[in-house]
């Protein structure tokens, strides 16, 4: 079976140690986590893990079953890129004088639809949200001028279809 990109969404209780338990499931199967994001979800006191893997669907399905089996996991899903709306965020720290010396940088900022977060005497910071390839493109364009620092977040994603967590939790209460 062919490898592909899958976004795994995990709704869970917010507990110390759960991250370790979930990452261990990947470790045990020697599967790399390409990106990981943990945040609050649309439900109070429920956390959401967004994990990106590049593997076969059959492995992804088995991993999701193992994740869902964990006591503190409410529900886990996996989706293909086509089934999700997803973004990553990146920050670029660049020397301030370049903003004035290099006309091209201003063009890059405009064309890439990125924002200047802050400008100080020594550096300015650009924020860019988008698909991985858009961020990569911007990196590629800025690199010749010198990037002082660069960081990119894990993928965050919402699905086009419904994720019926609230009804699952309500069912438990009854």
């Amino acid at each position: 079976m062919e490898k592909s990109w899958f976004t795994i969404s995990v709704y869970s209780e917010n507990n110390v140690g759960l991250l370790n338990r979930i990452s261990g499931i990947f470790l045990k199967r020697h599967i790399n986590i390409e990106s990981l994001n943990v945040s609050k979800s649309e439900i109070d006191e429920v956390s959401k893990f967004t994990i990106v893997v590049n593997t076969t669907e059959s492995w992804t399905r088995r991993i999701v079953s193992q994740i869902e089996k964990q006591v503190e996991v409410i529900k886990a899903f996996y989706h293909t890129d086509e089934e999700t709306i997803y973004q990553e965020s990146a920050l670029f720290k660049i020397a301030s004088h370049l903003l004035f010396d290099e006309r091209q940088i201003q063009n890059i900022i405009k064309e890439s639809n990125s924002q200047i977060v802050t400008v100080s005497r020594d550096f300015f910071v650009l924020a860019k949200s988008g698909r991985r390839h858009e961020i990569d493109q911007m990196y590629f364009e800025l690199e010749p001028f010198g990037i002082m620092q660069f960081v990119r977040s894990g993928r965050i994603a919402v699905t086009k279809s419904e994720m019926p967590i609230t009804s699952l939790l309500e069912k438990f209460q009854h």
């Binding site: 869970s12 209780e13 110390v16 140690g17 370790n20 338990r21 261990g24 470790l27 045990k28 399905r61 088995r62 079953s65 193992q66 869902e68 089996k69 006591v71 503190e72 996991v73 409410i74 939790l169 438990f172 209460q173």
Partner: protein, 577 residues
């Protein structure tokens, strides 16, 4: 902090007691019906041991000689009684010594709660004396674990621990409790855990799936049942028997399913897997419908997956959704507790018999009998075989003993030949293959089934991994019967070396001590048998003994266990020699 409570005052069910965390732990255990725990004291768990001292009339603590043995004893107890086994240890090395037992209980779905002491909360992360991250270490080998750092958490967390350990697919839970939480006081009130919102232990059976399963079973010409421990854990032995008898379907067992169906039942066709019986393995690749009940298609059962039951439609009765399609893709998955799903299935099953198909199993058995079984059980050559010892135990026990095995050749031979009438009678380390399991597990098995004979059959290798537990047996006056099948080799590894590594016996030769003297050193009656003519009498003497008894049987040194599916081969390529 001073603790003014005394042993006879509080009751587990009493409300709002102001007590220490350590005392609360005892009340939680009592409220969960625990009257027996295995463990080993140490610095970070001393407040709890102090309470155990006060409560010794209601809660029996058995001091094993190593923490690993405490876990195996708890497992043996759990497996034979169906209750949750409890083991306790201190922080650091005490806690890390539990890891093998946790892993064993995890892979064999054994309900167990382990309680470890931990350094005080303010010392966490400071590399304090005997501090270790047991939560991090035990995460992959526990169903759930949790670190308690405040006394007030104790009742709810322990209630949750027992609920999780025993519900659904059972498993081990580790609760790590910092020393301050043991000393500090709390307002104690205990409520049993009835559910955890993120945890669905028993999936509801799907009527459609049951309907489809029944249809496939009713239409099958060569149906074949393979059952595992899920039948025992789900208390579904009666339903399994009813299904087998009504449908007339031959049924084989995995090593952990052994004893769920009477060994002498006419439709019991034996063991599947690497050293299982010839018929069930070969015919796995000839059946048209394979009905798997409470088993997980372990690689030792399936051999090469690419040629496992490819011709068959597969029905999988299973409580754990993660097991569905994990190794073998199913046609019909019936999720749920085996007792419930089989009960729903039964009325839909047509009465039937498959005598011709069953005849194929009998024919294969005849072949296996001639080439393997006869030589194992009625040998004519001078050397004693493991098989004849097991047959002798069968004769002496009337198929009524609990048989505990370790790991290796003796385990395969014992599971092949031991006969059982009663469920929960076969205690062995299946998934993890833990050498050193049997002796401590037999302690737990005996304490969980005091009125039954408990016979531990162990190899000379595994025996020496936990041999110190002879002291626990003696101290607690447990009438455990211990049989060491001694071939002065790590026999199974030696067999593989012979078959696959051109007999290069790398580090499998054992120069053993005088096991009889060692047992006697622990004040345990002991005897050695070297000749066939002494065997029956020695086994009878052992079985008749009112106290613990050690029997060493010197067996042939280079005996091999057959049949055998070579590693990586298909079940139908099983070798008889």
């Amino acid at each position: 902090m001073e603790n003014t409570q005394t042993a006879n005052k509080p009751k587990a069910t009493a409300k709002k007691l102001r007590i220490s965390g350590a005392e609360a732990i005892i009340h939680c255990l009592l409220a969960e019906g625990v009257d027996l725990i295995y463990g080993y004291p140490g610095g970070a768990i001393m407040p709890v041991y102090d309470e155990l001292y006060k409560f010794s009339d209601r809660l029996n603590h058995v001091l094993t000689r190593h923490e690993q043995a405490a876990t195996h004893a708890a497992q043996g107890y759990a497996r034979v009684s169906g209750k949750v086994g409890v083991a306790m240890a201190t922080s650091g090395p005490g806690a890390t010594n539990l890891v093998t037992g946790l892993a064993d209980a995890q892979i064999d779905s054994t309900p167990m709660v382990c309680i470890t002491g931990q350094v005080a909360r303010h010392l966490l992360g400071s590399d304090a004396f005997q501090e270790t991250d047991i939560i991090g270490i035990s995460t992959p080998v526990t169903k759930w674990n949790y670190q308690i750092t405040r006394a007030s958490e104790i009742p709810a967390i322990l209630a949750k621990a027992f609920f999780i350990a025993r519900s659904g697919r059972p498993g081990p839970v580790l609760i790590d409790i910092t020393k301050n939480a043991q000393f500090d006081e709390l307002d104690f009130e205990y409520t049993h855990c009835k559910g955890v919102r993120s945890y669905n232990p028993v999936p509801k059976p799907d009527a459609d799936a049951i309907e489809k399963a029944a249809e496939l079973i009713n239409q099958a010409k060569k149906p074949f049942i393979v059952f595992g421990q899920g039948v025992i854990l789900g208390h579904a032995e009666k339903q399994l028997k009813a299904l087998v008898e009504k449908s007339g379907i031959p049924a084989a067992w995995t090593i952990l399913g052994l004893s769920a169906l009477d060994s002498d039942h006419p439709l019991n066709v034996g063991m599947v897997g690497m050293h299982g019986n010839y018929g069930p393995n070969v015919l796995t690749n000839e059946c048209d419908v394979l009905i798997a009940i409470g088993m997980r298609f372990d690689d030792r059962v399936t051999g090469n997956l690419d040629s496992y039951a490819k011709q068959a439609r597969i029905i999988h009765f299973e409580i754990d959704p993660a097991e569905i399609d994990k190794n073998v893709p199913t046609d019909v998955a019936v999720l749920g507790d085996a007792r419930e799903t089989l009960s729903l299935l039964l009325p839909k099953i047509r009465e039937n018999s498959h005598s011709e198909w069953l005849g194929e199993f009998h024919q294969k058995y005849e072949e296996e009998f001639k080439q393997v079984i006869e030589k194992d059980i009625h040998p004519v050559k001078p050397g004693l075989t493991m098989g004849e010892v097991v047959a002798q135990i069968n004769d002496a026990s009337g198929h009524e003993a609990v048989i505990v095995t370790d790991v290796g050749q003796h385990q395969m031979v014992t599971c092949r030949y031991a006969k059982f009438k009663e469920s929960k009678s076969n205690i062995t380390s299946g998934g993890l293959g833990t050498m050193g399991f049997a002796l401590p597990a037999a302690i737990g098995a005996k304490m969980g089934a005091l009125n039954r004979q408990v016979v531990a059959v162990i190899g000379d290798g595994g025996y020496q991994m936990t041999i110190q537990e002879l002291a626990t047996i003696y101290q607690n006056k447990l009438a455990v019967k211990i049989v060491v099948l001694n071939n002065d080799f790590l026999g199974m590894v030696r067999q593989w070396q012979e078959l696959f590594f051109e007999s290069r016996y790398a580090s499998t030769v054992m120069v053993n001590p005088d096991f009889v003297k060692i047992a006697e050193g622990y004040y345990i009656k002991a005897r050695r048998v070297e000749k066939r003519e002494d065997l029956a009498e020695a086994v009878s003497e052992m079985m008749a003994s009112e106290e613990a008894y050690f029997l060493e049987v010197r067996v042939e040194k280079e005996g091999n266990v057959f049949p055998m599916i070579p590693s990586g081969a298909s079940v139908s390529e099983i070798r008889l020699k």
